[in-house]
């Protein structure tokens, strides 16, 4: 946990437009957000509200059309630092995106070897530790095709953690899972939050948000409508739009 009082992520007035055949979609409209080190932020909002886009902008899988993002003191303007930033920012996807031609161990080891240039033995030891941490040490040699969705997502979390990131981004990590597998993934995320990892989680898991999050953010139409402590936001939202949305999902 960092003792730094500066925000580790500074998002200032960012804009993002997608140009499609039907016209321009303003996916992010003047979004500003600060995340302090060790903070867990849950982002909720209806489909198409720009939650995922914001997340993807933070590690530059999407470029921004205006504003600025500073991650751990590094501005994401030029492409020069981008791989350095990405290595510090772990990302977990809705569709897992494990490498299907590598075993669980291989998935976790690859970036350690290629990006962090760790030795094989070192990377393998780290991968084993992480598999223990996410609770599936016995699946080290299994291929993604042989794992359940929950197990795959846990391997994906372990893969991101292997890079020793300062920040973890979760893009709807449980949306593609069966209800009974959601818990095993949330448990891992909960443990991570308790360790003091800075996390931004796009999720509609209210239970997780209430238990682990320091702050909840509601987004709609590419804007941040309201942000507050999860308990307050979920039980007593101030905006009509938030109330309407919450009434639908609760």
């Amino acid at each position: 946990m960092s003792q730094n009082s500066e925000p580790i992520i500074k998002i200032r007035n960012i804009h993002k437009r997608f140009h499609t055949l039907r016209g321009t979609v303003h996916a992010l409209n003047n979004v500003t957000l600060d995340v302090m080190p060790g903070e867990v932020v849950v982002v909720v909002g209806p489909s198409g509200s720009g939650k995922s886009t914001m997340l993807r902008c933070i590690n530059r899988l999407e470029t921004i059309d205006g504003g600025s993002i500073v991650v751990d003191g590094i501005p994401l303007t030029g492409a020069r630092n981008i791989n350095k930033v990405r290595a510090e920012v772990g990302m977990v996807f809705q569709s897992f995106n494990l490498f299907p031609d590598r075993s669980a161990l291989g998935n976790i080891m690859l970036a350690q070897r290629v990006v962090r240039k760790r030795r094989r033995a070192e990377a393998e030891a780290k991968a084993h530790d992480l598999l223990v941490k996410v609770g599936i040490p016995e699946k080290a040699d299994a291929y993604p095709g042989q794992l359940s969705g929950g197990q795959q997502q846990r391997v994906a979390i372990a893969r991101a953690l292997a890079m020793d990131p300062k920040i973890m981004l979760f893009d709807e990590p449980t949306s593609a899972l069966d209800p009974e597998m959601i818990k095993e993934v949330l448990d891992v995320m909960m443990a991570l939050a308790k360790e003091g990892m800075t996390m931004i989680v796009v999720s509609h898991e209210m239970g997780f948000a209430r238990a682990a999050a320091d702050r909840a953010v509601f987004m709609d139409m590419g804007q941040i409508v309201e942000e507050d402590v999860p308990d307050v936001l979920f039980s007593n939202p101030s905006h009509e739009r938030t109330k309407l949305f919450l009434s639908k999902i609760l």
């Binding site: 899988l61 791989n83 996807f93 490498f99 031609d101 970036a111 290629v114 095709g145």
Partner: protein, 662 residues
């Protein structure tokens, strides 16, 4: 269905069956059904392979023609050879040549070298003029007119001319500067190279043909080599060979015989001592000379016992004007052959009208006998209507070649046969350090221990295909990667390449490579492409476009999430391509790549337009030489089929190995 009633339904309930069948369950399948069932359980390639194997075996067992075609199409590899390379080496120091002479003489090494320099090896003479600087018994050092010091060993000096001058002794020298060794390299190690400059020639023949024989025995030096045997050197006057066969062609200079075994032999007239070609002699009855043959008549033709009447009648029917009474073939008349014990009897019978005529493929003596009989019996009533005609084709002839004298060492001799080495092989052993220039080094005889010498047929097809495919993979990978870039120049260039090449027939691309690109390169750059490389480059660029599209599709088939996951872990674009996308894409594209490899193997048949002796070209050559189109093209097809079947099995195995678990 109309015929359903006639079938026995095996699953009919027992109650409706007649009593005698009531105990029967499902009947045993017939042998036919069992066979079909077994065949259906086999993999597809086993069935094709089985059919091909049966066909090939049947053909091979029934005909030697196939063995000949296969030997021809595979460049006839020997099991082993000593003719590794055909070489031309330039050597600076004649002293470094270590001669070895395998012959009947026992010359010293020095003499041998001298002989080699004089006869076998070209040498390059240089003339220099200068002043003698110093002189020793072994060498002479000369200061040339342009003030350079050269030292020349005395045994290399051919001519010298000295004049006294006021500056010193002026000398003009002609000496051997460098020598060229041409021959077959038979062996080499780190230090030396053995070159056979003269090939051995031997002849084996029957001892019956020896007319006279002189021999000298060269005792071997038992002190130096205890196990050796004395050598016998002979001079033999040998009777010319006697060849019997069927005449194919006969010209002023050459004749061609079909031998009983099915081979043909060309003989130069100058080698022929004498030969006998039978002449067709016809005699007919005078009275019948004008009487034509009516349909239904019996034409009686006399022949002499023991003569070849079939060949004679063939010759008769090939005549332009057949004597009237013998025109049995046109008039639907029957020919009756009457045999007589000798020629006189046959002629008498012709005279009496017992037979219409006499046909006879006669030797020269026999023709004289006919003429003599005619002289003796002027009123016999027999006339000889056409002048005798020599057989031009199809007759059995006997040729005797001229006698000759041969000499050499006896290699082997039995009661029946003798083998004489008429030319002894000569070898030069070179010190490899002394070689100034490797002027030429070409692969020697095709053999299993010298595969680089196999440059035709199936070897060429396979080699061209493998090299061209490896190149095409490289081109395809690079162009395929360019096709998925956002950089407009890379994308435009790669798209242009793919669209242009894909739209041109491979044959045209090959012709471009061979007759446009290669000559241009030869004229404008130092690059000179061999025919084989022209073909390889043509095939590689032609297939590169297709393989590029395969790679592009393979890369694009990997979900965007994979790239995002890799990038989010901090990998650069090339790293993500190399470690994440390409390994997955390669698995996807393996089957189409395998297909393209097989297609390229087949399309390599097109390279014969560049005059390369590939499998198809050799097949065509064989067919045009022997007119055996069926065997020739069958073998070509079977060899291609066997190669592609083997490759598709290999592709399947690789595919199965690369399948992911789960």
């Amino acid at each position: 269905m109309p015929d359903e009633s006639s079938r026995t339904d095996p699953v009919q309930p027992a109650s409706v069956l007649p009593p005698e069948h009531s105990g029967e369950g499902i009947p045993e399948p017939s042998a036919y059904e069992r066979t079909i069932g077994w065949l259906a359980s086999l993999p597809w390639w086993a069935i094709i392979l089985g059919v091909v194997a049966v066909a090939v075996l049947y053909s091979m067992l029934t005909s030697v023609a196939y063995q000949r075609v296969i030997r021809f199409l595979t460049d006839d590899p020997q099991s082993s050879t000593t003719d590794l390379f055909s070489v031309v080496q330039i050597v600076g120091e004649p002293q470094s040549i270590i001669g070895r002479y395998v012959g009947e003489t026992e010359d010293s090494v020095q003499t041998v070298i001298y002989n080699l320099l004089d006869d076998v090896i070209d040498h390059h003479l240089v003339t220099q003029t200068g002043f003698i600087e110093s002189e020793s018994p072994a060498a002479i050092t000369v200061r040339t007119l342009d003030n350079q010091l050269i030292t020349i060993p005395k045994d290399r000096i051919e001519t010298e001319e000295r004049t006294e001058d006021r500056d010193g002794v002026r000398i003009t020298l002609t000496y051997i500067d460098r020598v060229t060794v041409t021959g077959i390299m038979t062996d080499r190690d780190d230090d030396t190279m053995t070159i056979r400059t003269v090939n051995e020639e031997t002849t084996t023949f029957s001892t019956d043909r020896i007319l006279s024989r002189e021999s000298t025995v060269i005792p071997c030096d038992r002190d130096a080599n205890p196990g050796c045997e004395d050598r016998e050197v002979v001079t033999i006057e040998r009777q010319g060979e006697i060849i019997t066969g069927t005449l194919n062609t006969l010209s002023q200079t050459n004749m061609s015989l079909a031998l009983p075994g099915g081979d043909t032999r060309e003989i130069r007239q100058s080698d022929v001592d004498y030969f006998h070609v039978p002449t067709l002699t016809i005699a007919i009855n005078q009275d019948r000379a004008d009487r034509s043959v009516a349909p239904g008549d019996e034409v009686r033709i006399a022949f002499v016992e023991g003569t070849d009447i079939t060949a004679a009648l063939e010759e008769l029917n090939s005549l332009e004007d057949i004597p009237v009474p013998l025109q049995y073939a046109d008039g639907e008349a029957r020919a009756a052959l009457v045999s007589y014990p000798d020629i006189d009897a046959a002629l008498e019978a012709t005279g009496t009208g017992e037979v219409s005529g006499l046909v006879y493929l006669a030797s020269d003596e026999d023709r004289l006998a006919v003429a003599g009989w005619m002289d003796e019996n002027p009123d016999s009533g027999v006339i000889l209507p056409t002048p005798p005609r020599e057989c031009q084709r199809g007759c059995e002839v006997t040729v005797k070649l001229v006698d000759e004298t041969i000499s050499g060492a006896v290699l082997e001799e039995t009661d029946d046969e003798i083998t004489v080495q008429t030319v002894a092989p000569e070898f030069v052993v070179l010190d490899r350090d002394s070689i100034l220039e490797n002027r030429r080094m070409e692969p020697g005889v095709c053999a299993l221990n010298n595969l680089r010498g196999c440059n035709a047929g199936i070897f060429l097809t396979l080699r061209v295909t493998f090299i061209a495919y490896a190149l095409a993979l490289l081109i395809g990978l690079i162009i395929g990667l360019m096709r998925v870039q956002h950089n407009p120049f890379l994308y435009a260039f790669s798209t242009l390449y793919v669209e242009v090449i894909r739209g041109i027939p491979l044959l045209v691309i090959l012709l471009y490579a061979g007759f446009v690109v290669s000559p241009w390169l030869r004229d404008n750059t130092p690059i000179s492409l061999s025919d084989e490389w022209e073909a390889i480059i043509g095939l590689a660029f032609g297939y590169g476009a297709f393989i590029a599209e395969i790679f592009r599709a393979g890369i694009q088939s990997i979900s965007r999430g994979q790239m995002e996951a890799a990038r989010s872990l901090g990998m650069s674009y090339p790293q993500a391509m190399r470690y994440v996308i390409l390994p997955q894409a390669v698995r996807v594209v393996l089957p189409p790549l395998g297909n393209d490899f097989i297609a390229m193997l087949k399309d390599s048949a097109l390279i014969s337009v560049l005059a390369l002796p590939d499998l198809l070209q050799l097949g065509r050559l064989y067919v045009s030489r022997t007119f055996r189109a069926f065997e020739g093209y069958n073998t070509v097809a079977i060899l291609y089929l066997l190669m592609t079947l083997f490759l598709s099995m290999l592709v399947r195995i690789i595919e199965r190995r690369s399948r992911l678990p789960g």
